[in-house]
Amino acid sequence: MSATPKRMIPRLLQMALVIVGVYFGFILFFDVLLGQLIPKSLLTMYMVFVVAGVVMVFTFTEQGAQELAGPIKALVEDPSKKMMRNVVFVIVPLLAGYYTYSSMLLSFEAPVELRTIHPAPPNKFKAYGKSYNLTTLENPYRKFEKEDPAKFKELVKEGGDVYIRNCQYCHGDKLDGKGPYASGLNPTPLNFQDVGTIAQLQESFLFWRIATGGPGLPAEAAPWISSMPVWQDFLTEDEIWKVILFLYNYTGRQPRSWAHE
């Protein structure tokens, strides 16, 4: 085993610098460069793994582990470091106490909540006075995409008219969830341009959510929050299917289908 090399920066300090550097690197990259902050909950999760990874790299050799543990051992055991030891032993509990106190401090901030993006659909639901089976339900106009493209284009256009008259106030004229009323809603309306929304879903799911709205969500889908109106009270069945065509057509997405999976 080779002798411990002399280092410009002690290993313990190197490790601390790497961890702190990564932490501020995340903040700099997301909050400053990209202009979208990194949520505290996510940053905490990220840092747990970053710290684990860094500790692993610094300790997988015996020499590395000893270099890392050396200063800590010396701080605890070396009589010449008495002053430093006393300072550390005062500061560390104080920091822990401060962290605990600030974590437990009452605030006016509403508690964070876990929201489910796609509530689980029932197998069957009722709308327009009849029962629909969600597992077999298909968009009656989807077939025209191949059979009669001109007619399909016309249906998409009609769907677009329905969307502009009814949906864009919340979901936005670019379907990005940023309509004029969006800022008044919490949670904000769904962004259909996002790859994780309608692109993940079957058309039958969309039909169910649009027709029955927030009140149509089943108990087993809880916890949920939705201000989606019950559109079967305002739109016809045909209009809903056409607006679904428009949503996929405008965003360039295809509805999820099991046909080829």
Binding site: S2, F30, L34, Q36, L37, I38, P39, K40, S41, L42, M45, Y46, V48, F49, V50, A52, G53, M56, V57, T59, F60, T61, E62, A65, E109, V112, L114, R115, T116, I117, H118, P119, A120, P121, P122, N123, K124, L134, T135, G177, N186, P187, T188, N191, D194, V195, G196, A199, Q200, F205, E220, A221, P223, R253, Q254, P255, R256, A259, H260, E261
Partner: protein, 631 residues
């Protein structure tokens, strides 16, 4: 010990027989709610049916079993809270939950150990290296005590089900009576073969006797797997019932009920996961023995054992994400409702915890390999490269557990303008996860390759070309995985997005298999750089093995809950409603607490098993205690 084990086995068998035959007799013939159920189910017969995929799967089986129609099955009962017996101070759901989970943990271990023991014994026979034979024997020795605990917990589970969920048990027993009877008989066969295999280990040595012993090992595995497959059928029937009508009237034969939609995906997933789990538990055993070893030889032996156990765990861990993905895809195909509840609904948060635990698994397995490079001076030349592997692994994990819907404070929500993150949101969906998991598998394999070749120098003339081919293979493979993930994941529609995961997996497998083949030829007859010192491992590496076992146990508990919990308020999905006061999906914190308690209980029992193996080898000579016998 044999007598004790036989007693336990016989006890469990008798209990199973009792449960099957006596239980219906102990139940009221038709209680009030059952009568109501029969009446109402007739009225609502054309109502809800399970998903079409399930009915499609069930249809041929139903049609093919006219003979079974001679037996008339009752509809699923409609129960109220009064139909569930209670014992003051006992929460029936928690009791069944914990006992079932403990039984599963031990069962998984007991089914898995003979699989790799069989392989290790065969390697020992092929190489004539007795160390393999001794190691295989020690592994099976640990599983013998665990086998007793599996039987005890299985018996306890049967009692719990009969006591707390009698109507459900009665309904299931009527449909599965044939397979339950077979299960009970097979349990006898399993015990017999296991005991001959274990106690006959040193008797059946050498020549044809060794072949007989190896054949017994094969038989043991066949019976063990069959037992697991039968039990899997009961749980998967509760998720994806087959050959039943809307009222829950069973109209098929036993095979139709067994061969339900999710049976095979679960079978595959459990076989692979059990091997990985078994490897991790025997790894913890080796670590336990290593840390308590007094002699250098003992430390060397248990270090070698720990290395092999970690190898088994990693080897099975590599295909596990794909088996899990297949199971989830099938579950989604069976029921969109279940799929969305699982991956997009409240259970999605457990998958985030799952991702973190899988991260802990892979990191601890890698860390153990890296520490293992300290066994030889020859490995030091690879040390500088480890940090790059660590960076890729950590980045892959950050992608792996980034949730799609973020947990945001109100101020963060306001700043972001909605619950979605413009840049991190794309990491929350499956294409990113699939790409990340393939990266971490490839780099974990790279860690293993470094470890394997660290102390060797290839002597073949084409070593440079071989290395270049491997570098090219890794580079091309990683580029392919990235293109498949990014292009098909984000710039094509969902059909291709899901389908792209298959070539990604194949790419990873090609990298692993082809590299292994090249390495095998390239390092044939390679010379050692320096002597390998088995036992020269720091204690922290052994704690990594413990972490592997604990993470695995916790993970299995959480995912076991998810598998069962997605039925939500149904005992049997869509046909048999849970009418108990516990027919609600508990909060995530509550779930985490119960699973954590179960994990602590299991680990305590496992440590007990390890300790037993330690004292079983001790022999104290009590001088002056025993009366002198005259010659």
């Amino acid at each position: 010990m044999l007598t004790r084990n036989m007693k336990i086995t016989c006890g469990a068998f008798l209990l199973a027989v009792f449960a099957m035959f006596m239980q219906p007799a102990l139940m009221p013939a038709a209680n009030a709610s059952e009568a109501a159920a029969t009446a109402s189910s007739v009225a609502s017969a054309p109502a809800a049916m399970p998903a079409p995929a399930a009915s499609a799967a069930a249809a041929p089986a139903t049609a093919a079993a006219p003979a079974a129609h001679a037996v008339t099955y009752p509809p699923a009962p409609k129960l109220t809270a009064a139909d569930y017996p209670t014992i003051p101070g006992v929460n029936s759901r928690v009791a069944v939950w914990l006992v079932a989970q403990l039984h599963l943990w031990f069962g998984a271990f007991v089914v898995a150990v003979p699989m790799f023991v069989f392989i290790i014994e065969a390697i020992g026979m092929a190489t004539r290296d007795e160390r393999y034979d001794n190691m295989a024997y020690e592994f099976i020795k640990v599983s013998i005590t665990a086998y007793s605990l599996t039987a005890i917990l299985g018996g306890l589970l049967s009692f719990c089900l009969i006591l707390f969920y009698p109507d459900l048990f009665k309904y299931m027993a009527l449909i599965f009576k044939g397979s339950m009877w077979a299960y009970a008989l097979l349990f006898f066969a399993e015990s017999a073969v296991l005991y001959i295999y274990y106690y006959g280990w040193h008797w059946l040595q050498g020549g044809n006797k060794k072949w007989v012993h190896l054949t017994l090992g094969l038989l043991l595995n066949a019976v063990g797997c069959l037992l697991m497959f039968l039990a899997n059928a009961w749980t998967t029937f509760m998720m994806s019932p087959a050959a039943v009508d809307a009222a829950g009237v069973f109209n098929g034969d036993t095979w139709a009920a067994i061969h339900n939609f999710l049976w095979n995906p679960i079978n595959i997933h459990r076989v692979v996961a059990n091997v990985a789990y078994g490897g991790s538990i025997v790894g913890a055993y080796a670590a336990f023995k290593f840390l308590s070893a007094q002699k250098k030889e003992e430390r060397a032996h248990y270090d070698w054992m720990g290395y092999n156990a970690n190898f088994i765990a990693i080897a099975a861990l590599l295909p596990l994400p794909f088996a899990g993905y297949y199971l989830t895809a099938e579950l989604y195909a069976y029921s969109q409702q279940m799929g969305i509840t699982l991956m997009g609904g409240v259970f999605a948060w457990i998958f985030i915890i799952q991702a973190v635990l899988i991260g802990a698994l892979f990191l601890s397995a890698n860390y153990y390999l890296w520490c293992g490079m300290g066994r030889s001076e020859g490995a030091y030349r690879y040390n500088p490269r480890i940090k790059y592997i660590a960076i890729v692994l950590v980045v892959a994990f950050l992608v792996w557990f980034t949730p799609h819907t973020l947990v945001l404070t109100n101020s963060e929500l306001k700043d972001l303008g909605g619950p979605y993150h413009k840049y991190l949101g794309v990491l929350g969906i499956m294409p990113a996860k699939n790409t990340a998991v393939n990266y971490l598998l490839v780099f974990t394999f790279l860690s293993f390759m470094f470890y394997r070749r660290a102390n060797k120098v290839a002597t073949v003339s084409w070593a440079a070309a071989g290395n270049a081919a491997q570098i090219a293979l890794f580079t091309a493979g990683l580029i392919n995985i990235t293109i498949l993930g990014v292009y098909h994941g984000y710039f094509t529609n969902t059909v291709y997005k899901v389908a792209a995961s298959i070539p990604q997996v194949l790419t990873t497998l090609v990298i692993i298999i082809v590299s292994t083949i090249i390495d095998a030829f390239m390092y044939k007859g390679a010379k050692d750089v320096a002597p390998l010192h088995w036992g020269r491992m720091p204690p922290r590496s052994q704690y990594a093995l413990f972490l592997l076992a604990v993470s695995f146990t916790w993970l299995m508990g959480l995912m076991g809950y998810v598998r069962s919990g997605i039925r939500q308020h149904w005992h049997i999905s869509n046909i048999f409603r849970d009418g108990s006061p516990d027919a609600f999906t508990p909060g995530l914190g509550y779930v985490a607490n119960i699973v954590s308690i179960g994990t602590i209980m299991f680990m305590a029992m496992v440590i007990f098993v390890f300790w037993l193996s330690t004292i079983s080898g001790k022999h104290v000579v009590a001088k002056g205690y025993w009366k002198e016998q005259q010659a």
